[in-house]
């Protein structure tokens, strides 16, 4: 890098010049926020607090969306009517030391909405665990190696389900021990065949973690206006 380029990157709070290998599509939530800010009238821009994310009402000047790098886990616990069991892992190691994490939101996406409860009336149950134990790929995590974070039931599938995981993400950062999450979706009842009961869960797409951080260097440093 030329001296000018490295100084410019440094002024933008970047230690190196990024070189993406397989760029993913821009998450719609980031594109909407970017477009909204871009179209703000100039006078409003100068007044807006650049160190706060209005959309989530939290301090922050950096928003990242982390794709899930986990893997599916095969049914290893008979009798639990599991439709889906997946390990979720979000690599937060890219966050720089001077960044303070202020919010983390997990999004579970399905490819479609269902506008009416399924005819059989079965209800799904969703459980999210914080994993506190490494596990081999595909092998079910042991029950004692996890802490229940979320447990809720739902009858209708929505395109996306959102969960606030700020506490867990802050813990990952402080302890530098991020062993991911375990997502389970099961049917709560029903004695007919599991495959048919779980059909609508086949529309599961993926999960992602939106993280907001505040760069102490850049938010503290903005010069007092005249």
């Amino acid at each position: 890098l030329s001296l000018q380029e490295s100084l410019l990157l440094k002024s933008l709070g970047l230690s190196t010049k990024p070189s993406p290998k397989s760029p993913i599509p821009v998450p719609p939530v980031l594109w909407r926020i970017f477009q909204r800010r871009k179209t703000l009238p100039s006078a409003n821009k100068a007044l807006a607090d650049g160190c706060r994310v209005e959309e989530f009402n939290v301090p922050g000047n950096i928003i990242r969306v982390f794709p899930d790098q986990g893997h599916f886990i095969h049914e290893g616990q008979p009798g639990r009517l599991l439709c889906l069991q997946k390990r979720l892992y979000f690599n937060l190691s890219v966050l720089e030391e001077g960044e303070r994490l202020t919010m983390a939101q997990l999004e579970i996406k399905f490819s479609c909405n269902s506008y009416h409860a399924s005819s059989q009336g079965q209800v799904f149950e969703l459980r999210l665990y914080q994993s506190s134990q490494m596990s081999l790929r595909g092998v079910p995590p042991q029950r004692h190696g996890r802490k229940l974070l979320v447990e809720q039931s739902f009858a209708q599938l929505h395109k996306s389900l959102l969960f606030n995981l700020s506490g867990v993400a802050k813990e990952w950062r402080m302890s530098s021990r991020n062993l991911g999450l375990i997502l389970e979706i099961s049917v709560s009842n029903g004695d007919s065949d599991l495959q048919r009961l779980c059909a609508s869960i086949d529309s599961f797409l993926d999960t992602s973690l939106l993280v907001v951080t505040l760069s102490q260097q850049q938010c503290k440093a903005s010069r007092r206006r005249r």
Binding site: E5, V26, K38, S42, A46, G50, C51, V65, V94, R226
Partner: protein, 113 residues
């Protein structure tokens, strides 16, 4: 892409157009948006007497008076940004995550002495 237009008849201190193109600095493969933006810069004279639209500080007024009395010894006040606005940049980081980052003070809206 600095616009090197000759100093206009009104060479008083004011913003000048400066468009920063990220592809000019070879950043187009990791910056998603914008592709560039109008950053501007300040250029121009701060002559005696300073008029109100030159956004001057009291000190600048004082300095122009001294400059008018002793041009060799005391320079004119500087023409600097006095109102700036931020921009947001969408980019890929080294782990292919999409990042939306907000940067303060990136666009010169107004200049002053």
């Amino acid at each position: 892409n600095a616009h090197h237009a000759p100093v206009t008849p009104s060479n008083l201190c004011k913003p000048r157009r400066l468009y920063i193109s990220f592809s000019d600095v070879g950043w187009e493969n990791w910056i998603i948006a914008p592709q560039g933006y109008m950053a501007n810069y300040c250029l121009g004279e701060c002559p005696f007497p300073l008029t109100a639209e030159l956004n001057s500080t009291n000190h600048a007024i004082l300095q122009t008076v001294v400059h008018s009395l002793d041009p060799e010894g005391t320079p004119q006040p500087c023409c600097v940004p006095v109102r700036l606005s931020p921009i947001s940049i969408l980019y890929y980081d080294n782990s292919d995550n999409v990042v939306l980052r907000h940067y303060e003070d990136m666009v010169v809206d107004e200049c002053g002495c």
